[in-house]
Amino acid sequence: MTMGFLNIEFLVASAVGLLTAAGIYLILRRRTFPVILGLSLLTYGVNIFLFATGRLMVDAPPVLNKYAEVPYTDPLPQALVLTAIVISFGMTAVVVMIALAAYLSARDDKIDMPHHPEDEGEDA
């Protein structure tokens, strides 16, 4: 039984959209932690996006079937997304640790750097 007014493409697209939007919004926050959350959401969004560029198929895993001619989904985007996931995992770990280090050193997790204006421009 399917729900006629909805379709899988729409669901995926809307998910990408919402994740991206949420990601962008959180990235514009002023503390490091929400920004990191935003980055993760953005990563989900872009991963699904990348995955979907292979077009969507249900029950057609790209694992070769020696015995029957079955349809396969596009494996390449999956491979790309895997690479992307791994890389973004490394990136997340690093940014978390740097953010933590920044917080511990400054005792403050504002992401905007304190900006001290120039003491009167000295004349040469």
């Binding site: 514009l28 494996p75 791994v86």
Partner: protein, 956 residues
């Protein structure tokens, strides 16, 4: 001597003074002197040829792509200037040797001086306007160094920067002009350009080119309104003033106008711009000079005035005026350099340059007085000195010049200027050398040693001789030089002699001299009036302008780059979205080609969860732990979605990454505030929300449009599906792509993980090496801690699960090539298994029990992967070529091996190492004395028994 050598000698020689200064001041000075002497001789060797009217040319290609060639040529004009530069240079070097004091770093001085000399020679010998530009800017730079030579004096520093700003900007304008000129003619070679007068003057770009080039010349030659930098450049040591600001650099502009005279002059634009500027400058300089009490300032403004005079003559555009200009260049160089040097002598001996404090020096320093007086008389235009001759000729020319239809304007103003110049010359004589000897000089003035007055004396003798026998002494030189200027030997009739009969010029001279004397008599009241009169002070204006410019730049810079990445990111988003929309809107789209696929209710529910969870993350992001949980939900649904959409590998990976990331974030959060305050005002949040919605919408529409269309051309992945098994030896195409088709990507991916670990480790070291360590050791947990840090249940559970988890990891690892799984997932699972140990039993307990060195793990991961790749070299294949085969062990079924598996091992190790290293650093942050007991929660009954036994023994 080759022109190359002549131009190069000063640069080559510039090295020695700086080095030889260790051997003493004389060594340094003589090195400099010898250099310019050699160059001078080399130049004179060409004299016969030049006077025969020949043009010596040499050249090599430097940057042919641009038409910038190292071409030099020597004609009359070049010869005249080169001779002045090198000749006067020699005298200045001699003079400076005695002028500079012991404290001054003489080596640098001569080095700078020679650099400057080389640049000047380069200008006057260049046969390529781009090459000329190179030398032109070099003079600006080297004079910057020379003016700022006395670093400790603010006047020096500021004067240097002012000169650089003015002449530098003029130079840049001139670059533009020269490029235009070159584009009009189609060549940057002067000898070519000079042949194309009509072409240039017909071009619509003639005027812009003219203006830009003249900007360069006027700034360099201190023409009104750019004249003001020259007096401030007088903060330089006097030898510099004598050399740069009377004889050479300020004449560079004049030289260029003379050089381009054949192609640029003769048009009304040229006449009105150049002649008028020259006239105004001449008058202005003369007037101001009269009211300066500083000797060098007086001379500086008189220089301005005389440069104006020459400029005006060139502006007239008539050949005879050009001849006069050339003649006056020679004369001015001689008497003005002499004047500067004698002013320097006065300053050096009397320790002041203030005219009001001087007077009557002729008794105390007769030699200097004679030299200065003769030179000044020549400057005033008194016969029989050379200044008189050229001034006569100049006045003669003005009489024949119409300005906007008026016969009287030019001669009138010229006469006025001549009158003032006579006046200040007389003042120079009268108020410094004549009059009563005073007894309040800052120091006891007396004539300096021969070395110091030799130079000016030589120049002054020239002043006299040229005055008496102009035709014989400089006639030929003027002829060839003027010929070069006017671009042809056919010069009009002129005669260089003292007596031309009762010409109007003679009367004008008379008026000028008498008027000058009158003005000198009225000097006291005049200067009082002058000082009362309000007038713009160029330096203040310039300084405030510079200060304003600097301040403005600081405001712009700091305003834009204020460290607020929230704003940077916002701008980035706006820009990206805007440009992307532009790209979309300027393209066209075809209707969808694919059918949409229906979905079941379960899917919709899952989707709904995802949406809600995502929104909840945004809504609750201030409560950090809650938002972490929510984001966990999001990740979970995403991985379910991957599974549903036939991507089991992705699902597994997503899931395991999710877990590890969550753990990391939670542990990190342990150190951070648990909630974010509300900071951004409402409108900012709305703004951000707006851009977020737009961005999300864009992404959604983009992917929707893409999903409803087929590949324009068949995807390369069809090949992967077709060849995965026969070519890659695996049935799980995704894994085969990862480790084989695109193994290079995975190689990079391993490296990224490895680097991540290294970064985290280094960072931890840095943090713990700083004062932060103290804070960490003493920090009090901001949340209530569990009573039992390592609950028994959990400990036991994890111990039991450990081997299971590791087995699962192994299984997933090995099946990876044919079924969903692989090194990365396996690595994560193994890492999770270890993680559990840490969490349950405490870091120190666990780390004692595992003999694993993270750096080693990571390193070996990368090395194994790389080695696997290199292995294929030995079979003559490219990097990362995989091999596979099938083994048959009778009891077992067919067993496949593939080098790709080794590669996967690399991934596995890198992952484990990276995760555990990150964990370790977090644990090191958390470490506090006393939190790790000898054997935390280690359930080992034996130990208790031992304890009891010990106790029992104690009793017994």
């Amino acid at each position: 001597m080759s022109l190359f050598l002549i131009a190069a000698l000063p640069f080559l020689g510039a090295v020695f003074p700086a080095l030889l200064i260790r051997a003493g001041r004389n060594a340094s000075a003589s090195a400099a002197g010898l250099t310019s002497f050699l160059a001078f001789v080399g130049l004179l060797l060409h004299a016969p040829a030049v006077f025969r009217g020949e043009v010596i040319q040499v050249g090599i290609d430097w940057l042919p792509a641009l038409g910038l060639n190292a071409n030099f040529f020597l004609d009359g004009l070049g010869f005249l200037f080169a001779a002045m530069i090198l000749g006067i240079g020699l005298l200045v070097i001699l003079y400076a040797r005695f002028y500079l004091s012991r404290e001054d770093p003489m080596g640098n001085f001569y080095t700078y001086l020679l650099l400057f000399q080389g640049a000047m020679v380069g200008i006057v010998l260049s046969d390529n306007i781009l090459l000329l530009l190179v030398f032109w800017e070099l003079t600006s730079l080297s004079s910057f160094l020379l003016i700022g030579y006395w670093k400790h004096l603010p006047e020096g520093r500021q004067g240097a920067r002012m000169a650089l700003a003015i002449t530098g900007s003029g130079g840049l304008a001139m670059i533009g002009g020269m490029m235009i000129l070159g584009n009009i003619v189609g060549s940057y070679d002067l000898s070519v350009i000079l042949q194309n007068k009509d072409l240039i003057q017909a071009s619509p770009l003639y005027l812009p080119a003219l203006i830009l080039i003249l900007l360069g010349c006027f700034t360099k030659s201190a023409q009104f309104p750019f004249h003001f930098w020259l007096p401030h450049a007088m903060a330089a040591p006097t030898p510099v003033s004598a050399y740069l600001h009377s004889a050479t650099m300020v004449k560079a502009g004049i030289f260029l106008m003379a050089r381009l005279w054949p192609v640029l002059s003769g048009t009304p634009e040229w006449f009105y711009i150049v002649a008028t500027t020259g006239l105004v400058t001449m008058l202005l300089g003369a007037v101001i000079a009269l009211f300066k009490d500083d000797l060098k300032a007086l001379l500086a403004f008189s220089t301005v005035s005389h440069l104006g005079l020459i400029t005006m003559l060139l502006g007239f555009g008539t050949k005879i005026a050009a001849v006069t200009a050339v003649f006056h260049i020679i004369n001015h160089a001689t008497f003005k350099a002499a004047l500067f040097m004698s002013a320097g002598i006065v300053d050096h001996e009397a320790h002041t340059r203030d005219i009001k404090r001087l007077g009557g020096l002729r008794h105390l320093m007769p030699v200097t007085a004679t030299i200065a007086i003769v030179a000044a008389l020549s400057m005033a235009g008194i016969p029989p000195f050379n200044g008189f001759l050229s001034k006569e000729m100049m006045l003669e020319e003005t009489v024949h010049t119409l300005w906007a239809g008026s016969h009287y304007l030019v001669p009138g103003l010229a006469l006025l200027a001549a009158l003032f110049s006579a006046a200040y010359s007389f003042r120079f004589i009268g108020h410094v050398f004549l009059g009563q000897t005073r007894d309040d000089y800052p120091a006891k003035p007396h004539d300096p040693g021969f070395g110091m007055w030799a130079g000016p004396a030589l120049l002054v003798s020239l002043v006299v001789l040229i005055g008496l026998f102009p035709a014989h002494l400089v006639g030929p030189l003027v002829a060839v030089a003027a010929g070069a200027v006017t671009g042809g030997a056919d010069l009009p009739y002129y005669s260089l002699k003292l007596w031309h009969g009762l010409t109007p010029a003679l009367y004008m001279s008379g008026v000028a001299v008498i008027g000058g004397l009158v003005l000198l008599k009225l000097h006291a009241p005049l200067i009082a009036a002058w000082n009362r009169a309000p007038r713009p002070e160029a330096k203040q204006i310039f300084d405030s302008a510079m200060r304003a410019l600097t301040k403005l730049s600081q405001i712009i810079t700091d305003g834009l780059h204020n460290g607020a990445i929230t704003r940077y990111a916002f701008l980035m988003m706006v820009f990206i979205i805007g440009i992307s929309y532009f790209a979309y809107s300027t393209g066209t789209m075809v209707p969808a080609t694919r059918e949409v696929q229906g979905v079941g209710p379960i899917t919709v529910i899952a989707w709904f969860c995802l949406m809600v969870a995502t929104l909840a993350v945004v809504a609750k992001h201030r409560q950090r732990q809650l938002s972490l949980v929510l984001i966990g939900v999001v990740g979970l649904v995403v991985s379910l979605g991957f599974n549903y959409l036939s991507a089991p590998d992705l699902a597994l990976t997503q899931l395991s990454v999710e877990v590890v990331t969550m753990v990391l974030l939670l542990l990190a959060l342990n150190f951070m505030p648990k909630d974010s305050p509300v900071e951004a005002p409402m409108w900012v949040r709305l703004r951000d929300g707006g851009i977020a919605v737009v961005g999300g919408l864009g992404a959604a529409l983009l992917i929707y449009a893409l999903m409803l269309r087929d590949f324009a051309l068949p995807s390369i992945s069809e090949f992967h599906l077709a060849n995965s098994y026969k070519g890659g030896g695996g049935t799980n195409v995704v894994n085969v792509i990862l480790v084989d088709f695109r193994g290079y990507d995975t190689f990079g991916e391993i490296i990224v993980l490895g680097i991540a670990a290294l970064v985290i480790y280094a960072l931890t070291e840095a943090v713990l090496g700083s004062r932060v360590r103290a804070y960490l050791l003493n920090r009090k947990p901001d949340m209530p801690q569990a009573g039992d840090a390592h609950p028994m249940m959990m400990v036991v559970a994890t111990r039991v699960m450990m081997p299971l988890a590791l087995m699962v990891a192994a299984y997933i690892f090995f099946r990876g090539h044919n079924l969903p799984g692989g090194g990365f997932i396996a690595g994560l699972i193994a890492a999770i298994a270890l993680l559990m140990q840490y969490m349950a039993s405490g870091f120190s307990w666990a780390s004692e029990r595992q003999r694993m060195f993270y750096h080693g793990t990571i390193g070996s991961g990368v090395l194994i992967a790389a080695a696997t790749g290199l292995g294929s070299w030995f079979s003559g294949n490219p990097f990362l070529t995989s091999a596979f085969g099938y083994l048959h062990w009778p009891p077992l079924e067919e067993f496949e091996w593939a080098t790709a598996a080794l590669f996967d091992l690399g991934v596995f190790l890198a992952v484990v190492g990276a995760v555990l290293l990150a964990l370790e650093s977090l644990a090191r942050f958390a470490w506090q004395p006393g939190i790790s007991s000898e054997h935390a929660m280690d359930i080992n009954p034996a130990r208790d028994d031992a304890a009891e036994a010990a106790a029992a023994e104690g009793e017994a």
